[in-house]
Symmetry: C2
C-alpha cells in the first residue's frame, strides 16, 4: 500500500519530497552541528496510504488507513468503511514526530481546506504527532486566513511563500526558530600611501553627515563574508580588492525587524586605485590619509569605532592576527563551507607575525 | 493641518510610530553601519492630512490633501472636493521614498481593504513613492489574500504577523532583505584532568550514532554568543561554565529554510563537574579523555572537525589566540553591543601568549 502511495504521488510531489528530504538532512546534520534541533525536518515518507480513486477522487486528500479506525482487515470493505473515514491532508511524516503538509497537494478551495484541516489536525494529534508545517505559496494565499482561524501561527516567510506551524501536544512549542540574524560587512582598505578608502553615504542621519566612513553593506543570500566585503567595496567605490582577514566582529540586537546583526570588519588589499562611486547610495568616496581618518570626531568620540581603529593599527604593525577564511569540507554533508580562524605565527600562510 | 492629523491619531498609533521610528533609527544607523540600506525605514511622520469627520468618518482612511487634486485654496470646499477625493490608507512616510501602512488603522473588512488598497497604491505611485510595507497581524489574516491579489509579496513573518511589501516604481525592487542567518554555538569544555565534555545526541543520523561530540545549539532571540554557549552546555549537560574565547567560526549555506548558518566554536572554562543531561535531546554525556575524543573516526575522518581540534590543541598550548567578547557602546545608538576581537599578546587581559 505504501508503495502504491509513492507511485500515485505526482512527480512534483516526489521532487518536493526529495528537496525537503535534502534540505532537512542538511539542516539536521549541519546547522550548528546539532542533530536534534531540526529533527522535525527529516522527511521520511508519507505515512498516508493511498486508497482506490472511487473512494476519494481528489488529488489532495488521503484517507486514514483502516487500522486507525479499528479495522484490521487486510482489504477493508470500502463501502462500509467510507462513512467512517475522514479526509486527511496529504503530508510527509518526519521521524521525530512532525508533519509536513504536502504543498503540492493542497486543495485550492478555502472551504474544502477549512473542512480538511481540523480533521487532519485531530487525526495527527490522535496518532501522537507534534509540529505541523504548512507552506502556502503566494497563489494559495486564500488558505492563509483559514489556517490562522484553525490555530496556525506564522513561522517565517520568503517572497513567494509563507510558512505556518501548529503545535499539537500540550506544553510549549518546541519547533525550531526562524532565521535570527542579518550579516553585514565593512571593508578596511589601505593603499601603499597609507590612505584608507572612505565613503560619505547619501542617506545618513544628519548628526553624522559629512563624516567619512568605511564602505559597508549586507552580504547577499548565500554569499561568503570574504566575497561580500569585496563586492560591497567594489559596488560603492569601484575599487577592486582581495580579502585578507576578518579583523573583528560586532554582535548587536533588536535592529531591523527586531532581528540581531553580526557585522564583520574585514581587511582588504586594494588591487586598483581609481574610484568610481555608486551614485544611488554614495555621495562621495576618496582615499584619505589614515591619520586624518582616525582623527575624525566620528572615530575619536565613539568608543566602538575607536577600538576598531586601534585594532586595525595593531594589525598594520603586525601585532594582531585576524581570522583568515579556509575552505573546508565535512563528511556530514559533503559540501564546502568556510572556516574562519587565526592562522597564528607558526603557519606558512600567516598574514601577521605576533612577536 | 498636519498638527491636527497628529492629534487625531490614536495613542496606539503614536506609540507604534515611536516604536517604528526607534527601530528604524537603529536599523538605519547600526545595521552594518550602513545608513542607506535601511533608509526606507526611517518613519518621519504621516503625510496624510486629516479632514473633517463629516467628509470621511472612518478611523482608518484618510483623504488626499486637496493640493494633490489641484486645489490650491487654503480651505477647500469640502462638498465640492469630496467627489474628487479618494480614500487612502493611513500610513507613515519615510524620508527616502517608502510608505509604512499603519497597522493600527487598517480596515477590518476585506472588502473595504480591497477597495482602499489599489486607490492607495495608485496615489503613492503618483506622488513618487517606492516601497510599501504592510504588516498584518494574525487577527487580520483575512487581509492577506486581498493584499497578495493586489500584487503584494511576502517579506518576512514572525509568530504573530506577516510583513508584505509592494515595490511601486519600474525596475528592480530595492527593499532590504529578510534575516538571512541562523547562529549556532558549540562549547569546547576541558577540565583539569584533560577531559573534554561530550554528548551523544538522541536524534542523530545513524551514520553518526554512537559518536561523542561537543554540546551545540542555536542561540536564542537576542542572545549573546558567549552566554548562548554557556546556556547550551548547561542545558545539555548540567555543567556550569564561563566563556573564554571564540576559537573559530564556520559559515555555511542552504541549510534550514534555505538560510545560511554561522557556527561559533567557543572555549569555555568548567565551573562544575557533575553531569546531569537534558533527556529530551541528549542520550548521554560524559567527561572523555581529550586524546580519546580526537581519535574518534568522527574527528579523524573529517577534515573540518580535525582542523577545529587542531586549533583547540594549539590554543591549549597557548600558540593560538581566539576572540574575546568586549562590551562596547557606540554613539550611533547609545546601546551596548559586543565586539569580538583577539586581545593579542601585549594586552593585560590576554588569554593566550603567542610566542
Amino acid at each position: 500500500m505504501e508503495r502504491l502511495s509513492l507511485e500515485l504521488r505526482s512527480q512534483a510531489g516526489i521532487l518536493e519530497e526529495r528537496r525537503l528530504r535534502k534540505t532537512r538532512t542538511h539542516a539536521k546534520c549541519f546547522t550548528s552541528f546539532n542533530c536534534s534541533l531540526f529533527s522535525q525536518w527529516e522527511a521520511k515518507a508519507s505515512y498516508q496510504i493511498a486508497t482506490p480513486s472511487n473512494v476519494d477522487s481528489s488529488n489532495f486528500l488521503r484517507l486514514e488507513p483502516s487500522k486507525i479506525n479499528g479495522s484490521n482487515s487486510a482489504m477493508p470493505n470500502w463501502n462500509i468503511a467510507r462513512s467512517n473515514y475522514n479526509s486527511v491532508l496529504d503530508s510527509f511524516e518526519d521521524e521525530y514526530g512532525g508533519i509536513v503538509i504536502n504543498a503540492d497537494r493542497l486543495p485550492q478551495d478555502p472551504n474544502t481546506f477549512a473542512c480538511a484541516l481540523p480533521v487532519s489536525l485531530s487525526y495527527w494529534k490522535r496518532i501522537g504527532k507534534k509540529g505541523v508545517w504548512l507552506k502556502l505559496p503566494l497563489e494559495l494565499s486564500d488558505l492563509v486566513p483559514v489556517a490562522v482561524k484553525k490555530g496556525f501561527k506564522y513561522h517565517h516567510a520568503e517572497e513567494a511563500y509563507v510558512m505556518l506551524t501548529y503545535w499539537l501536544p500540550e506544553g510549549p512549542c518546541l519547533l525550531p526558530a526562524n532565521a535570527s540574524h542579518q550579516v553585514g560587512v565593512g571593508g578596511f582598505v589601505l593603499n601603499d600611501q597609507n590612505q584608507v578608502l572612505v565613503v560619505q553615504e547619501k542617506y545618513c542621519d544628519s548628526a553624522f553627515s559629512g563624516a567619512w566612513k568605511l564602505p559597508t553593506g549586507f552580504i547577499q543570500e548565500s554569499e561568503e563574508i570574504f566575497s561580500g566585503a569585496v563586492r560591497e567595496v567594489q559596488e560603492e567605490t569601484g575599487i577592486d580588492t582581495e580579502f585578507v582577514e576578518v579583523i573583528a566582529f560586532r554582535h548587536a540586537h533588536h535592529l531591523a525587524f527586531e532581528k540581531s546583526d553580526l557585522f564583520f570588519i574585514c581587511m582588504l588589499r586594494p588591487l586598483s586605485q581609481e574610484i568610481k562611486i555608486d551614485e544611488t547610495e554614495i555621495q562621495a568616496a576618496k582615499w584619505m590619509p589614515f591619520s586624518e581618518f582616525v582623527e575624525q570626531p566620528l572615530i575619536q568620540d565613539d568608543s566602538m569605532f575607536k577600538k576598531i581603529m586601534e585594532i586595525c593599527i595593531q594589525r598594520l604593525r603586525k601585532n594582531y592576527c585576524g581570522l583568515t577564511a579556509h575552505p573546508v569540507i565535512s563528511k556530514f554533508d559533503g559540501r564546502w563551507s568556510s572556516l574562519y580562524y587565526n592562522v597564528g605565527t607558526n603557519s606558512q600562510d600567516s598574514n601577521c607575525h605576533v612577536s
